[in-house]
């Protein structure tokens, strides 16, 4: 009798777990995709260079970025589910046309420039396999168009999750380099500043924060929540989705730092593509994994960034803007998407294009938009008329405001040091 009780309890719990998992898989998406896309080409480069420069020394700092990413992005889930509006439209509605146009134009510009950096990452990654940039740009653009033209948000989301899953390629890569687990834990988990708190270290800390929260992420996740049709009752699932995504993004970053911290520690590395090329000479399997990871990161980033812009255009101009619509039902939405892809890809193909300057410019322009987007987020989440019972609690406000203030200060300093590197020394 007693054994039967244990058996039936176990079976009941198992059934309940499977049911919960099924619901999660149905509702998972925006949080997971945005968080893994956060490790885009720029992010992967930052983590690669961080590992090569400081070894495992800054892993503890990456762990701190988990709550930072979660707290900011979780607010977009509630805002999207309650207002059923994307962030661009929400800013226009709440703060008027001046702040609306400012955010919208800034977003369009910074997204387009970031899209160029994703293409730079993708072409550099595939160049390692001797694939010409023009082939990469054409194939990527065609695949990305096919992904959205099938007319279903759900299908697009599941394909995007598949690509997002490839982002964890850095985890097996870390096992290939056989790091000393004891050393990783000993050096990585104890908060300290390797080599002292120097100006260069401060720059690296700022760069890692800068890649964790980007303006497009806020706009993308909120619009994605709306397009998916999430309702207030789905908010807890959206929160779980965002939390799992945040954990994955930090995990991937840590494993990449372990890879480069083990293999390239002390080597002067400037980009992830360069790191992959170096590894190809010593360990071709590892070099291949790093290059595939870089390509995938750029691809995932490009998917989300171009969609964030198209959604924002649709919201502001009142055009039909949903992945659930066919091309003839939302022509401007898909035209924006295609235009962003073709022009950003085209810039990479221009001989002698100032790609390094563009990469630096992205950081500076992002700094003009990020504080505004974050401040608007906090203000909207505190408005009872808009949010009702889903507005921020005191605890959420304390955490959210502290994080937003810290991000604004650090990302501004990052932007300024990018503009005036001589001030850092």
């Amino acid at each position: 009798m007693f054994t039967m009780d244990i058996g039936s309890t176990f079976f009941y719990k198992y059934r309940r777990f499977i049911k919960t998992l099924k619901i999660y898989l149905l509702l998972a998406g925006p949080g997971l995709i945005v968080m893994l896309a956060d490790n885009d080409a720029g992010g992967i480069t930052t983590y690669t260079v961080t590992g090569a420069k400081y070894g495992y020394g800054l892993i503890w700092f990456l762990l701190l970025l988990l709550p930072v990413a979660y707290i900011v992005q979780e607010m977009t889930v509630r805002l999207g589910a309650v207002t059923k509006r994307g962030h661009a439209e929400a800013i226009f509605d709440a703060f008027g046309s001046f702040w609306g146009w400012f955010s919208f134009i800034d977003l369009a510009l910074v997204n387009w420039l970031t899209l160029i950096t994703e293409f730079i990452g993708m072409t550099a990654a595939l160049a390692i396999f001797h694939i010409p940039p023009v082939v990469t740009v054409v194939i990527v653009s065609v695949v990305m168009m096919l992904m959205v033209l099938q007319g279903k948000y759900w299908t697009w989301e599941k394909i995007a999750i598949m690509f997002a899953a490839l982002n964890v390629i850095y985890i097996p890569a870390a096992f290939l380099v056989h790091p000393s687990v004891g050393e990783v834990l000993k050096i990585g988990l104890v908060p300290h500043f390797p080599g002292g708190f120097t100006a260069t270290l401060f720059f690296f800390l700022m760069a890692n924060i800068g890649t964790t929260i980007a303006p497009w992420m806020i706009f993308f996740q909120q619009s994605s929540v709306v397009d998916k049709g999430m309702k207030e009752k789905d908010i807890p699932w959206g929160q779980v989705d965002t939390l799992i995504g945040s954990a994955f993004t930090v995990l991937v970053a840590i494993f990449l730092v372990v890879v480069t911290g083990t293999v390239l520690y002390g080597t002067e590395v400037e980009s992830a593509a360069q790191a992959a090329s170096i590894m190809m000479t010593t360990n071709p399997w590892l070099g291949t994994l790093i290059a595939i990871g870089l390509f995938n990161a750029g691809f995932l980033g490009a998917i989300c960034i171009s969609l964030a812009s198209s959604w924002a255009f649709g919201e502001v101009f009142g055009w039909a803007h949903s992945l659930n619509l066919k091309i003839r039902e939302a022509p401007w939405f898909y035209a924006c998407y295609l235009f962003a892809l073709v022009t950003a890809g085209g810039v990479v193909l221009i001989p002698n294009a100032p790609l390094v300057l563009i990469t630096l410019f992205v950081q500076v322009i992002a700094v003009t938009l990020l504080p505004a987007a974050l401040v608007f987020l906090i203000l909207l989440l505190n408005n009872e008329e808009i949010m009702g019972k889903y507005k921020n609690t005191t605890l959420q406000n304390i955490a959210g405001t502290a994080i937003v203030v810290a991000i604004i200060i650090l990302s501004t300093l990052y932007g300024i040091t990018t503009l005036f590197p001589e001030w850092l020394t």
Partner: protein
């Protein structure tokens, strides 16, 4: 009278005309901010204005140093 149609021709001019009308329509639709302008909101928006002015000044300074 100088219009889009006389400068760019009938076809392109009407496209521009449509765009400016659309922008005017958006400006009218979002003329008044929906959010209540409490003290906290005013301070936050003032901070953003000052922040952006300072950033523009810094960008201008960088541009000036590049030129000279």
């Amino acid at each position: 009278m100088l219009t889009f149609e006389t400068v760019f021709g009938e076809r392109i001019g009407s496209v521009f005309h449509g765009w400016t009308n659309k922008i005017r329509e958006i400006n009218k639709k979002y003329e008044k901010p929906r959010i209540k302008m409490s003290r906290g909101v005013r301070i936050a928006l003032l901070f953003l204005r000052i922040y952006l002015i300072l950033l523009v000044l810094l960008l201008g300074y960088k541009f000036w140093t590049l030129l000279t």
